[in-house]
Amino acid sequence: MSLGIAGMGWITPLGSGVDLVWERLLQGEEATAEKITEQFGEQSYSAFRVPNLALANLPPHPRLRRASLISRFAAAAGLEALQTAGVEADPRNTDRIALVFAISNGGVIYTKRFYRDIVEAGAQAASPLLFPETVFNAPASHLAAILGITGATYTLVGDSAVGLLAIRMAEDLMTNQELEYCLVVGAEEVDWLLCDAYRRWRLLRLAPPVEPFSDVSQGMILSEGAGAVLLARHGLIMIDHIHPGGYYRRRTEAEGVLNRILCDLSQTEIDLVVSSANGTFIDQAECKTLRQIVPEAFVYTPKPALGESVGAAGLWQVIVGAQALRRGELPPVLHGAPTIPLRISALRMSVATADHAIVLSCGINQQIAGLRLRKESETQII
């Protein structure tokens, strides 16, 4: 089944709004890293944060009064996706819009605060206001309440492949003809605790740059924000094939899983690939497979510019892929070594004739997923 992209929303460390972020990526801009410190850790980390101004236009809603950052990001992206599609959620269609939410670490800021109070001052210090915000589906619940969605609402948890798995789930849901739209949102917020955990896991580097497809993986930089894609049955950009995904038990198996997924997605001639390369061990497996299966495709990764936003990352990549096909341009790949054996460009480049793109998400915690985008020609639509 093919799904159309009816609208998109984007909140990133480079700002908010699909057009604005896209233009800044095309200009070769990179988010500015902020130092993050914490009272119980001596090490400071760098992360790409969403600027405060990016949420300035978020309309007030009682559900957002005490909500965590991740919920605000999700609300802003979700509202933009509906707005760009010209869809207004109202009581006549709220049963006909499903919400699938992709998340990895969830509301880590409130979760840390809630549990730290318990550790430092005992169970009596636990806040009943914070606890509900620690639940994985809190952001989805807030967004559903803001939009008035009363039908299917799902939160999917996983690694950075979860965004594409959420789109696959949306495709499964859309087999129900009662549904007109499925809003897929991915969101994440950054905290020192996450940086510390990924660093101890040897996946994070202390400061930018993110060097994609590097021979020696230096690690990633975490980022935050949200991406939203409103799926309908038709659109100018279609998602025409979604692989159900796979997982690797050991790092050495990642290449095999990637190979299967890419072979499945590349039955049609592929013009470009939006890769998930983020400076970690997984890049090498991705590089080898891309070189082997789609050697002629242009390859772009947004993560050197925007960082690794984990739960939001897959949605960000889909937005990049859709924008590249719609606008006929690819932004420059930042910090890529000239020796990378793939068709990547350090300069903004035209892909005006491109009509098929693969979006590939290789998670760092065993999950891999991919999908294919297709640009509809005007004659096909009309």
């Binding site: 699909v18 010209g86 550790v119 619940s141 999917l156 948890v157 499964d172």
Partner: protein, 415 residues
Amino acid sequence: MDQFLSKLPKSAVADRRNITARVAVVAAGVVSPLGFGLSETLESLQEARDCITRVTRFSVAECRCKTAGQVSDERLLSNRSKADRAQRLHRASHMMISALGEALAQSPQFKPELTIVGTTSGGMSYGEDYLRALNRRDSLRHSPTWIANYPAQKPVLDAQETFGISAPCQVIANACASGTNAIGHAFECVRSGRYERILTGGYDALSELVFVGFDSLQASTPEKCRPFDRDRTGMVLGEGAAILALENLDAARARGARVLAEVTGYGMSTDNFHITQPDPSGIGPRRAMERALQSAQISADAIDYINAHGTATPFNDAAEGKAISELFGRVPVSSTKSMMGHSLGAAGAVEVIVCLLALQHQFLPGNINFRAPDENIDLNVIANKARPAALRTVLSNSFGFGGTNASIAIRKFEA
């Protein structure tokens, strides 16, 4: 930004798909405070055992509630392999391995195309260990193990790896409705014809953060858990894992698989009233149950038993009780959480297995600790003891934080 849909024809025809497949449960496995495996679970249900005990995993000295339904570590960990990897896995992984192992033993040829599992907190206790060590500046020697085994998908992947399954997995975190949502979504995926075989279920292991969280909301009780009782004061938490193997009925028959029951309907709704409280009108649960009936293409009088969400909190039971009584009248109802506690992401899956056993062995599971009916809830509560009954179709409810409501219909298999 230009409109994506501006050039679309108004009369575009949607892709239509027949929804005709019947969905069989061909295998099941469970670990819960009621016991390890289907046999022990059945025995506990038929004897209406109270499996709630004092919490031993962490200090509850400062909490109102001191009890929970707990899975015995002694038994859970006794069968684990001596390999380093097995020693490092989270308890949740061991529960999943145990439940999946039982299910696959019943249907070794079952090769899933997809796994859909519900949870609320993944390997949360490892996250707690990590934060506590950081905060107290203790040794972080074990932190790689804690971090690697914390993600919610890890117990699912661990269980799959143990049995050589490589299906992609979707982990649904819809709070306390997660398990039912996972099974319901899996059911719809098989029924739509997109998949032939899916592994589904739910898991959750007790954690201090969650326990204290519910205590802070005063949702958990310092007394006994008494669902639908006039004097109910709240829930007790639990833990466990349950797995179901769902298969297209024709495919199951073709390979000669034993069919345990059929899943026939699923409904869900989102109730935007409050993040932790249901709409007192019961509209959320009601919509979920109505949609499950609609999906099963049956009327309310076809339901012989309802395994209620029944947390024993004043708000949940009032809203759910109102919805049940308005839709079903005097259908027998029980909340088996009274025996084993509320295992959150596992609850829906464990309770579907309770329904499956009730259908197979033709009995109504009891709602223990029940003393006096609530005059505001007109329900036919199966008080304190299990009793024999002729059951054909039953309903299982799960509702969660964030206003997620899910209901699933299961039918006795008749060839």
